[in-house]
Symmetry: C2
Subunit: 405 residues, 2 copies
């Protein structure tokens, strides 16, 4: 059961002028479910993307990176399959990804390197590219602007609900729309991007600026979530700007980029809310660190600790586990007497131990909530960061012990 | 259920001349169980120790380090309590540890700084030192050389079986005995030592040599195991040499130090075999790395991945999860085409993908075993390392969601 997250209301997902989406049931892994998505972008669309830093990156990641460069950040289409990650597949996998892009290019009448591929699913198995080719006709026939909800559904794997978000914002005196979809529930600790997110806007953004901002936005959203600490082989965030609204977003368009970031954060948080087996949504905020890296190291030590995560699952204010995680986060000169820890508004630890006013009942009250903020004040400097994560439950084990069967 | 590990046969634990052990039921956390251990060391005994690197280290760790130095590595006693870690307890915790040592020193007629304290159990709660004081009489009355099995039992927390090991080895023309005990099942990713291990020998070893060798031995044993990646606040390994056998172990006594290391490895592996919820014992061997640090980073990425650990639990040869972990282990210039992965004798991955001869049935056969070796050959250099770990099961979640209740 996702934490305070339900399927998006299709009527609240604004179509983005210049973007059409179509889905198909291609039977890639299992018959009968939508597992193929094609999106067509208007001419003149620009794009920026960030990809996984996993060295065993998937063939579609390698090809997407190459194609985006080859087409001068002006792609014309996106093709996504679920059920098979096309990762750990060697040169045969790269050939399969190329064949997929070529097939899409042929039916859409565009260049092969203007097609951005994404895949998600099982690793180390060959992509059944002939099923993708056979399903393309159905997806192309389905292309339409108000198809975001179906698109969000077509990219799911172990997700329990589709994930989509939409904003409208004024930029350059005109209204622009931003709509995005994402998928992911396990193998989630993105590094420079997450497991498949696609965000589109009808604002116009020059390629260099878009490239720079997509990196920054990923750092503030998908790069700040973790479910299990496992960085996927396929993580990709693609942002496409069609320019069809006539609104031009420049370096000074703060409100626009804030809205773009808000969509990214909403999608990133949705991935955590739907984290495999999640019953709690946890915000870990680390403040007064000497540097942002240091803040992130402490936040991730807490967010990845199986002991902390099982204590959240149990609603048990076993705060010593949080202190232990802070202690092993790798800050060699940490003075534990200067550290303060809060659960929401409850001051639980200070001066190397339990806060004198802390009552177990107060900790218990916060731990029972479905949304909890752990705030750690290191007392070392001015840097801070936030990481979002979920708890570790029996269902996480069940989902991952049964996933392939 | 521990993996291929049963309670030690008391008759196979050789007493160590110069060491007496006594236990008591002090009711520190729960009534009726042995939770207090006192060990008395003969005069002239030398000792070496390594301690946790967790910055939130427990009060007994701080005091043990100070006392070992103050007594010139010639301690006369050890006192261990379970049920309370005396960690995250500030200055009051340090006072409680000092009071404990003083009480032991008084009844044994020795100096307070010749007493080494260890605590294990819940973090962030004050140590009920008066219960330890009240239980000391019972423990002292119980002091005897052939009490190792009871001692191993008295230091358990979530352990399901006591852990002890014993060896006899010839050194300097005389027979020496080495016997040790350890505890630990969760919050196990030792950094420079593990959650409470005590090894004694009746060989004579000068303090400087003992200090140096204990560090080396910890690196080859307790520093190579992980259950959940959580480095404890209390990890301590203490090795005491009484010299009572008349055997002198010097820098060239390779067979003796190999036997000492073998006892440490057996105890360290016993902790993994009894890892919380463990159903499989996994050896992760990384070879042909550019440096040992790099080998360890890859080994720990695999050993800590919740996805890899749940796949082991499911006996599912979902090898893509292992490749993904290698890929995110932080080797920026890793050429995945040069990596080979084996499950025991089965060659599963090569050249960035699945080995052409690999059959799922072969992987399945290995994954069903209770003991599995994952061997990763990086093809980058001559360094290698081994890490021992266990799988992640439903019982891990149950144990840690219920531990305090």
């Amino acid at each position: 059961m996702p934490v305070n997250l339900s399927a998006p209301d299709p009527s609240r997902l604004s179509p983005v002028s210049g973007i059409e989406l179509g889905t198909a049931r291609a039977g890639i892994r299992k018959p009968g479910r939508r597992d193929l998505l094609v999106a067509r972008f208007a001419p003149e669309s620009t794009a920026g993307a960030v990809f996984t830093r996993n060295r065993f990156c998937a063939a579609p990641v390698t090809l997407a990176r190459a194609n985006l460069q080859a087409c001068g950040q002006r792609p014309r289409a996106l093709v996504v399959n679920t059920g098979n990650a096309n990762a750990g597949t060697g040169t045969a996998g790269l050939d399969a990804a190329r064949r997929t892009c070529a097939a899409v290019a042929t039916v859409l009448g565009t260049a092969s390197d203007a097609v951005i591929p994404m895949s998600t699913g099982v690793i180390l198995e060959h992509l059944p590219v002939e099923r993708i080719e056979a399903g393309l006709g159905e997806a192309i026939a389905d292309l339409k602007p108000d198809n975001w909800a179906a698109a969000a559904e077509a990219i799911m794997t172990t997700d329990s609900v589709p994930k989509a978000a939409s904003r409208r914002v004024e930029v350059d005196g005109k209204m622009a729309t931003i709509t995005g979809i994402a998928k992911g529930a396990g193998m989630i600790r993105p590094n420079m991007a997450t497991m498949l997110a696609f965000i589109a806007t009808d604002a116009a953004i020059v390629p260099d600026l878009l490239h720079e901002r997509v990196g920054r936005i990923a750092d503030a959203s998908f790069n700040r979530i973790t479910v299990d600490g496992d960085t996927s082989t396929n993580d990709t965030l693609l942002v496409v700007a069609t320019g069809r609204s006539g609104a031009r977003a420049g370096a000074g368009s703060d409100a626009f980029f804030a809205a773009l970031e808000a969509v990214a954060v909403e999608l990133a948080q949705a991935i955590v809310r739907d984290g495999e087996g999640a019953t709690k949504f946890i915000t870990v905020r680390v403040e007064r660190a000497a540097a942002e890296d240091e803040a992130a190291a402490v936040a991730y030590a807490i967010a990845h600790s199986p002991l902390v995560k099982t204590a959240f699952f149990a609603s048990d204010p076993n705060l010593g586990r949080i202190l232990a995680a802070i202690g092993y986060a790798g800050i060699a000169d940490l003075d534990v007497d200067g550290v303060d820890v809060y659960l929401d508004d409850v001051h639980v630890a200070t001066a190397g131990g339990r806060h004198p006013d802390y009552q177990e009942a107060d900790g218990q009250r916060v731990m029972k909530q479905s949304e909890i903020t752990v705030r750690v004040v290191l007392g070392r400097g001015a840097a801070a960061t936030t990481v979002w994560t979920c708890d570790l439950s029996h269902d996480y084990v069940s989902i991952n012990a049964d996933y392939r069967s």
